[in-house]
Symmetry: C2
Subunit: 187 residues, 2 copies
Amino acid sequence: MPPRDAEATRRRLLDAALREFAEFGIAGARVDRIAEAAGSNKAQIYHYFGSKDQLFDAAFETIVRDTVADTPIDVHDLPGYAARLARRYEEHPQVMRLATWQRLERAADAPVPLAVKSVRDKVDAIARAQDEGVLPRHYPPGVLLTLVLQLAAVWTAVNPEFGAAVDMEGVRREDVVADSVRRLLAG
Amino acid sequence: MPPRDAEATRRRLLDAALREFAEFGIAGARVDRIAEAAGSNKAQIYHYFGSKDQLFDAAFETIVRDTVADTPIDVHDLPGYAARLARRYEEHPQVMRLATWQRLERAADAPVPLAVKSVRDKVDAIARAQDEGVLPRHYPPGVLLTLVLQLAAVWTAVNPEFGAAVDMEGVRREDVVADSVRRLLAG
DNA sequence: AGCTGTCTTCTAACCGGTTGGTTAGAAGCT
DNA sequence: AGCTTCTAACCAACCGGTTAGAAGACAGCT
């Protein structure tokens, strides 16, 4: 275990950044806190990543890459795909939080190429499946994907007031997601 | 037009706060900017609202009140209700942005009573409609409401990368919302 | 009408702590 | 030695929040 390891330090910083940004967003994140959580130094962040914003970009890209790799689309089983995505969101709450912060705080910036490609691939796959009669045609491919992703994210978007108002114990969340996507495709 | 009008000043500050918080969130909002946009003074904010956080609370409560009043639920026509909500979100983008900031930055705090009541009323109405056979029973009332609200918000949640990847021109957004809710209730 | 005192509404200036970012140089490795 | 990796200390700008007092409104008095 080398105490001096540039790559390991970079990873630790990135990991701490991921947690910090997921919790507090870009404006709310504190660079010192990230450095401390990584057992490192603030200057290292600027050495490895350049700026707070670039550090966020790196963290976001990492999590997008991991999620895309872990949860590939399956056009023959969109309900199952949505359920798997929902499980990933539940097991890694940072994914959706980071994506949301990015949408809110970085809307003006140039879109992340990796994410654009991932969306394009999925839309193409859905379009092809529609051509082959595997998927229904009542929504254009982009719209269908949007709806499926939105349903997969349903449990990440419940406001705190909802939890205070309704008892959600005993709800099989993934099943609700899969079932609702099934209904979306039917008819 | 009285140049000295406490109530008018309060309203201007609240309105400016609404815009600022919707754009930048709580951590990103700047109190000076709000005061300047309202043509007022920073000290007035602390006089009328107490603190930055309390100012956010006031802005959030205002927008919840307006939205609840403007878009009542109609259990006999959930697709139409969802479509109306979607239109409201589209015409007033601050609504969903503020709600999202609140969820991300204020999850730990006590839920807003007004919002809790609004959710409870809607859940009760859905439960009653299910008892009367007006609505299907394949989801518990709270789950059904969650799904409907999530579908109504579908166009507020598209990440920037989506817009860059897919052409959404010509999509009748409200119709998609109404149609998807219809499918959710069918079967 | 004018004068005066009092209360409300408003503002400029200020404050201490914090923030993202920098620097100069120490310490380890080969 | 020479390069990479690391750190403590520093900095100017900024931020939420405060303060002391100015300026308008209004009532009562003359």
